[in-house]
Symmetry: D3
Subunit: 251 residues, 6 copies
């Protein structure tokens, strides 16, 4: 069995996420491919940005399924359009946020979500609530830096994240840390080491690797999302979008 | 003070909602105007449909604010894009669903939501959860008829809805009924009378009139949504959409 | 349609609430009248005070309905006797607390309740819980001043309230503010401006105007509370109270 | 140590509750005395009835404390005025409802509340919610008979209650039964035997004996309610009531 | 009626709990006996310790029932094995933790749990959740001292506990205090006095006396746990344990 | 990287679970080994059985870690001793129950748990509550057959399970099915097909394959449980058990 996983980064900006980022996750029997959007925002930091990202994410998800990939990962912690994509395709659609939150809940009792900007707190609170995990949500912390300005000074970024993680553990009672922006890819090891140096051995979840491995686990287990809750959309007249499979219905 | 309220029906189908529907709600000092979408689905019955409705709803909401209206009502019980629209404008944005659910919660202890199709149950459960009202949600009931096939035989529709409302009260413990599709406009009186004939005096909430009057109440009280939770979107490069105010940033 | 709303201030002290307070809310087609109690406490700051206020509030509510008013507002944030009054009358009975809390929940995600005295915290916690809104309750704050000693120095009062509102936003994560004493009538604008000066545009809910406008909205929508949950009291022998309608049953 | 417990039946009707009812609970070192109200309703079946019962219950509670009793039990499953009475006195004030619900929660996982009338369901739901026990509340069942018409045919009453208890266990998933009206005093043994005959050994809680023994346990443990949450009422002008200790403040 | 209550201290260390500790609770008609384990840990400070304590606690509980005692109290705040013991015997099995938490919930609105070690926080959080009392749980505080090193300097211990109790009230909003280690037996009066000196009259629950009196109350009320939720274990082959009643089934 | 996963079946009965069961899950780079207990019950159907299974499960888990395996799976849906084992080892310890419940929560909105016996319902309710997933738990269903009598007539078993799954979907509102006994290994495909024949495409989770693949995902992601919440047990005197690593401390 060879497994193909498609990572959809739901923005239009080239160069932030590249295949180089996911190449290390590949191994024999596992390939990871990558898509950007053609229509949408240059980064996602609001409900507004999410709204503009979802329609083209659906198109890209449908094309991914048509091209034969085995699972789709939405590369954004707010999981924009995860339910709409699940309606449109039958292969597993994982959200970087949803996957991380469930892993955190399995490995500890109270997780903190450490991210880029204070302003996305209501969005994150909302999805944690909708996944039924609010009782296990210790806190939201942010380093208050826009996604597109994320330091290329990795050391400074790791230090800023480690400091927030320490506060989450010591003040908020967290016992697991979610790196709450997929742009933090690769920072987990340094943060884990920094916390361990302070006496805290806690899981630090790097969402993209975690989601890739979880997607593999679902595929090997023969599992996908429920079509009772995510039934296929009815064909109907649609204007202004060209969505494969639903195309013929467009006026 | 003259109040102008804009009803946005987030679909492209002409003729389902007309100004005739809302004319009876107007009175001295209150006018209600109406917009449809240019891009989007012909009806909303899935997360997929909602996703295609939101971007153009945002555009229409921004234009409504520019044109000087005092409040916006989203004419769909799933409140698609309510948070994104609130980020984009400063005037009150009400959802037909959110408003009805809060009124039901004020007037009784456990409400039922009676709608068109079984398949939207997960969507409704999700928004009720996100509004924090799950403890007061007695049940979901549906007459299982697509929106665009809603009977023009009003009497048959009223009977079908009254029957479900009776089940909601007698079997599910509901004490308030939400008409869970804005296409049921005008059915409330008949259902209320039917239930009263069975010995049950319960509020039957017709979402559009309720939302228009609630919008008036907010405006008169000088209240709008919180900009702490719905901050204005950052200007950034956007592709594929032409959204006023955010236009200049588009590539 | 001319709408008459009766404000019942459930205390015996004359001069704290006057018609002058509500006159500005009147306009063509809307009149607001006012009642005090004959029996009861001079202010409400405990469950004990509430208990002594409720029987005469019921009497006054029944008389209000008899006299033809369209809706009743209980002028106290603890909503004393709201359910008993709803059993006794059929016109809408609104609580200043319940109405404010629902509006706050609609306009933001987490509200704070800023009031007179620390000691009423358990009472407020209890009603928020009974309305099912606990998940949205960011914090309770008080300026710790008895109702009857509320400063006539409005500027000092506004400053004290603004300071607590700022703490609610910055430390407790609130995005909406409820003025938690109907004696704070008229303070909302100053507090809103003060918060805006600190960069926070949040709804600041002044309960009495909000409740008057909400009552109007209910009346225009033809809605009142559920008689399934608030059924009319059975006639039975009552001693020590003279309650219209239930009089003949008294021994 | 001799313990004196005062049972306050918060109605005016003589003969429903008598000292004969509680005599069997007395033993060496334990006496139980009894009070009725002078002002109030003849039975409690609504929020309206409760409201009229509370002021005189407070007076009787204060007099009980003055007369030297060690604890007070409110003889009504809705626990009317329990918080107001706790503010007014320092000795333990137990509610028949609160005590039964906590015992049920300790002895099983999901309790049912079986009572006289369907119409009190919202009142019972409300207090269970306010005690934080909603997750453990399997169901509400009623035999739909007014308190004052409770059969003197004990056998028929026991049969009706046993039937509802059986439904609670088999259909609602209950594992403990609360006799939800203090007028059911003495029925527990027969119901327990009837359920045992059907193969179900479950606790059947008779509220008055349970509350008397719990009051004893509190007294022996030196425990009473928290004055942080139930602080003594401030002295202030009161009209229309003659409440000892707060008398001098009345106008 | 003479009541015999068996206190099971689920550890093997002699001398920590002695009959002298419980002698003061005895009175005419009430005797308290005591058992230690033969197999198990020397103290309980982890899930690991609990796991090793439970099998022998079951054996001791069965022997206690055989010897005719009327109720069993597990002398550990984590209530280890309470459900397994309830399956194995029919007499009431009380946990020191469960009993204290329910009493705290009856006497106030939000309790704090003050105990020996930070590391048992997840265990305590878990049992409070499983009893359905999480909404009423104000905070966890610890003096961070292992059980076997608990100061014999009672004054220092009382001071440390009083300090944490004060923080619980002033910072965490607690209105009732649970002494969260049965090794704190006898400290309640000093802590209560210390808090009263700071103006706070709150219940301070000493778990062992409270559980003994609650056990008495259950026995006098004829109540025990539900056999629907704690049914007798099926006889089956067991290896490595010698448990009376289930012996014959061992290989 | 070669991954070794140890399945611990926490009972003493030989032949129920064999390496043949897990062999099909192995592939290049993944081996699955298996352990039974030496001390414990012959099957797990009660809290009593669980209590007797945990001490030897800890021993076997410690030995598994010593022998170099990468992760441990507890082969029982009640996850007996999962927290104690996590304290004792550092490699991931997965429970068949916990893993299935989180997967179900990720793939749908409301799962049902279909198992062997009605009597384990309280145990399952308890663990679902402790994992924070109660809001997503649609129902418990059982075929009421003891584990050791599970039909070797696979077809009959599949039919019985499919029937319960259908009820879960149609009556309880489930959209995902958990096979709630690890003895149902291998039944998922037939049940999924049967439901699909009725029009329902839902995930049917077979716990052992799912847990094996999830364990792989955790190992590849470098994640294990939090040592903040599951700290290593203190060394102390232990009697009656011989637990490696803690041995030297035994008397």
């Amino acid at each position: 069995m060879s497994i193909d996983i498609r990572l959809i980064t739901p923005i239009i900006t080239k160069g932030i996420r590249t295949l180089e980022d996911v190449r290390p996750l590949e191994r024999q029997g596992l390939t990871v491919s990558h898509s950007l959007l053609e229509s949408g925002p240059s980064s996602i930091e609001s409900e507004f940005d999410e709204a503009l990202a979802v329609p083209d994410s659906i198109r890209v998800a449908i094309e991914a399924e048509h091209s034969g990939v085995d699972a789709i990962i939405l590369d954004c912690m707010g999981d924009p359009g995860i339910y709409a994509c699940r309606e449109a395709v039958s292969i597993p659609v994982l959200g970087a946020g949803q996957t991380s939150m469930h892993l955190a809940n399995m490995l500890g009792h109270r997780f903190s979500f450490i991210t880029v900007l204070d302003r996305i707190r209501p969005m994150i609170d909302k999805i944690i609530g909708s996944y039924g995990l609010k009782d296990k949500y210790a806190s939201f912390q942010s380093i208050d830096t826009p996604v597109l300005e994320l330091s290329h000074d990795l050391e400074a970024l790791n230090e800023a994240l480690s400091e927030k993680a320490l506060i989450a553990i010591e003040s908020d009672g967290a016992d697991a840390i979610i790196l709450g922006c997929t742009g933090f890819l690769g920072c987990a090891d340094a943060i884990r080491a920094s916390l361990q140096g302070r006496g805290y051995c806690v899981p630090v979840i790097d969402p993209i690797p975690a989601a890739v491995h979880m997607a593999e686990a679902l595929i090997k287990s023969g599992l996908t999302h429920s079509k009772v809750s995510y039934p296929e959309p009815s064909l109907k007249v649609i204007s202004g979008y060209s969505i494969p499979k639903y195309n013929s219905a467009a006026n």
